[in-house]
């Protein structure tokens, strides 16, 4: 097991396409780090550079303190689980898992011990003699993980390992992966574009966009204190609501004016933070759960307004209310017991203790 350091790493493909534009990332020993971001943001490329499957254009990657830039994948002591599993189709499950150990000249008994142990952890003992084609998607997934576990490598690399599974199995395997990590504690870098997967699995989440890292932090931190508009909009489902707005310094109190004229008083503990923005255009952001029935909120720092719901989505535990405001679709989250009907005006309140103001130019959260 080991730490992984990614320093100023750039990856340019032919034609000068920069897939990764100089990223820095320090991953601690035993840590579970998830790279998340939209399609094409360079997650896989980053992972493949750590694996040694892709050359690094510039910068440096170190695993366990050793710079591995010029070390081939097989000598990096890593294991990787691919999105399509990449099981060896002509070998049985046992042989698939034993392949790496056989190449490394482990004794037969040791190989058998490790394979059986991994098979027990993953509950695939009954499948050891089967060929991959006789396995279901979930079972193949487990074998692919088993192949990584038996090697007991310094680092596990996962590239969207669950995206080929159906929704139910995905949730189940997600828990499985977390269990395995809690058990073997191997440093893990996990790539996904699913932010729920990222939030549930990660010790720290790395949000990438267009080849750069937007923010690194524990899931809760990314959720509550996003640093950029991108992170604010990417993390959380349903996504944060954004409105164009203006900060105004009126009669001693700082206020945020929404396009429909509603003025929201800035909570006093935030006035210092937003003072510099007085008179400027900003983006006002608020999560759906902070847009709810007035009765659910403290009296302090709330703004109540009336909306006409367009669509009501009962989710069971909660109900989502969609409405339009000045050309933007807004989502609010209310109690399932609160009566709500499309077209019938209702009162909602914004919890201003949880609002975000974003600088229009830089996209930074203020």
């Amino acid at each position: 097991m080991a730490e992984v350091s990614v320093r100023k790493v750039v990856k340019a493909y032919e034609g000068n396409v920069q897939a990764v534009k100089g990223i820095d990332l320090e991953i601690a020993d035993h840590e579970f780090v998830v790279l998340v971001g939209p399609s094409g943001c360079g997650k896989s490329t980053t992972l493949r550079m750590i694996a040694g499957l892709e050359e690094i254009t510039s910068g440096e990657i170190a695993i366990g303190g050793t710079v591995v830039n010029d070390i081939p994948p097989r000598d990096r002591d890593i294991a990787m689980v691919f999105q399509n599993y990449a099981l060896y189709p002509h070998m049985s499950v046992y042989e698939n898992m034993a392949f790496g150990l056989t190449l490394r000249k482990f004794a037969k008994e040791e190989i058998a011990k490790r394979v059986n142990n991994a098979a027990r952890i993953l509950d695939i003992e009954a499948l050891l003699q089967r060929k991959p084609k006789a396995l279901s998607g979930g079972q193949r997934q487990r074998v692919a993980m088993g192949r990584a576990i038996v090697r007991d490598p310094k680092v596990f690399l996962f590239d969207e390992p669950l995206s080929n599974l159906d929704a139910k199995l995905r949730v189940q395997m997600r828990t499985e992966i977390k269990k395995v990590h809690q058990r073997v504690r191997t440093t893990t870098v996990y790539v996904t574009h699913d932010q729920v997967e990222a939030m549930t699995l990660a010790d720290r989440v790395v949000v990438m966009n267009h080849g750069i890292i937007e923010q690194v932090g524990p899931p809760q931190e990314l959720y509550h204190s996003p640093k950029t508009r991108f992170v604010a909009g990417f993390i959380g489902s349903p996504a944060m609501n954004f409105f164009p707005a203006q900060v105004e310094n009126g009669s001693g109190a700082l206020r945020v004016i929404l396009p429909n004229g509603v003025a929201l008083p800035v909570p006093t503990d935030r006035t210092a933070r937003y003072q510099a923005m007085a008179g400027r255009e900003v983006i006002f952001g608020i999560r759906p759960e902070h847009l709810t029935e007035p009765k659910n909120l403290d009296r302090d720092n709330i703004a109540v307004f009336e909306v006409t719901p367009e669509v009501i989505e009962p989710m069971g535990m909660e109900t989502l209310v969609h409405f339009w405001m000045q050309g933007a679709e807004i989502c609010a989250r209310i109690d399932p017991t609160t009566p709500a009907e499309p077209g019938r005006p209702m009162q909602l309140a914004a919890d201003l203790n949880h609002m975000h103001l974003i600088d229009v130019q830089s996209g930074r959260v203020l």
Binding site: A51, G52, L53, P72, P73, R74, R76, I78, A79, M80, F82, Q83, N84, Y85, A86, L87, Y88, P89, H90, F99, G100, L103, R104, K131, P132, K133, A134, L135, G137, R140, R147, R151, N164, D166
Partner: protein
């Protein structure tokens, strides 16, 4: 996944299935008719050869009655041809040439196809296209310059000269068909092997080649056929009977002066065609498409 339960609840689908099956029957009928037609066209010559090979020279020369019937079947042509030492020399030459050519071709083109399909390097695309274009140049255009080359190597009139020449036909085509097949194998498979600790050669031998077997076998069959049936090059480069392969040997040496021993020629030609049939039958067992099943999500 749950479609099987869905169909049970939807009688509509059964209805559709009914009309589909009548469409299918129609497709089967046309398929059978055209296949039978094609089979007749392609099988008539070998059948006629077989019939002739069972006839005595006298019967061949006899023009009365249907030529498709054998009145006094005899194996004397086969006995004569198998007892003919020249025929056995031709046979041995063909075997020797073909085995060498297939080996050389498969080693070169497997490696070349792997490199062109997998390793992205400068000019690899152009090279892959170039390989195919080479195949398009007809051999009749090439045999004069090749004559010079083979002559320069001192291999004229030698079956080894043919071993040198045939790969110019087989390598480009085999490489080309294997590039296509190799490209269809998910590259994560070799990457997984490399990460698992395999060197390039181990990855190639233990993972890639076994998985690519169907494509490799298709190419092997091609190389075998080209080499076994080559006619233009041996006609041009070999004149000594001792060095001739079957294809030209049978026609050039079994004709004595003006007398065509038709029965023997046909028996010889059929015996010559036997090895490809055996090789096809044997390799077809292994030539199961979709050997990669199960490697990926499926």
């Amino acid at each position: 996944m749950s479609t099987s339960t869905a169909t049970r609840e939807m009688p509509d689908i059964y209805h559709k299935a009914g009309s589909l099956s009548s469409e299918r029957r129609w497709a089967l009928w046309t398929a059978y008719i055209s296949l039978i037609f094609a089979a007749i066209i392609f099988l008539a010559p070998p059948v006629y050869m077989f019939i002739t090979s069972l006839k005595t020279s006298a019967e061949v020369a006899n023009l009365t009655g249907s030529p498709w019937l054998v009145r006094e079947p005899t194996l004397e042509n086969y006995a004569a041809i198998l007892g003919n030492p020249t025929f056995l020399v031709f046979f041995w030459n063909s075997v020797k040439i073909t085995v060498c050519v297939v080996l050389i071709t498969m080693v070169i083109s497997t490696l070349a196809a792997f490199a062109l399909a997998r390793m992205r390097f400068w000019g690899s695309q152009a090279l892959a296209t170039g390989v195919f274009l080479t195949y398009l140049i007809p051999e009749t255009l090439l045999f004069i310059p090749l004559y010079q080359i083979v002559g320069g190597l001192g291999l004229l009139n030698s079956s080894w000269g043919l071993v040198v020449v045939y790969p110019t036909l087989t390598v480009p085509f085999c490489t080309w068909i294997m590039i296509g097949y190799f490209a269809s194998i998910p590259k994560e498979l070799d990457e997984a092997a490399l990460i698992d600790g395999a060197s390039w050669s181990q990855m190639l031998l233990k993972i890639f080649i076994p998985v690519a077997m169907p494509g490799i076998i298709a190419a092997t069959i091609f190389a075998f056929t080209v080499s076994w049936a080559a006619f233009v090059y041996p006609t041009a480069f070999v004149t000594t009977p001792d060095e001739m392969p079957l294809t030209i040997g049978v026609v050039s040496q079994l004709v004595r002066a003006d007398t065509f021993a038709w029965g023997q020629i046909m028996a010889g030609a059929l015996l010559a065609a036997l090895p490809p049939v055996i090789v096809y039958a044997f390799l077809m067992d292994y030539y199961i498409a979709g050997l990669t099943a199960g490697a990926t999500k499926g």
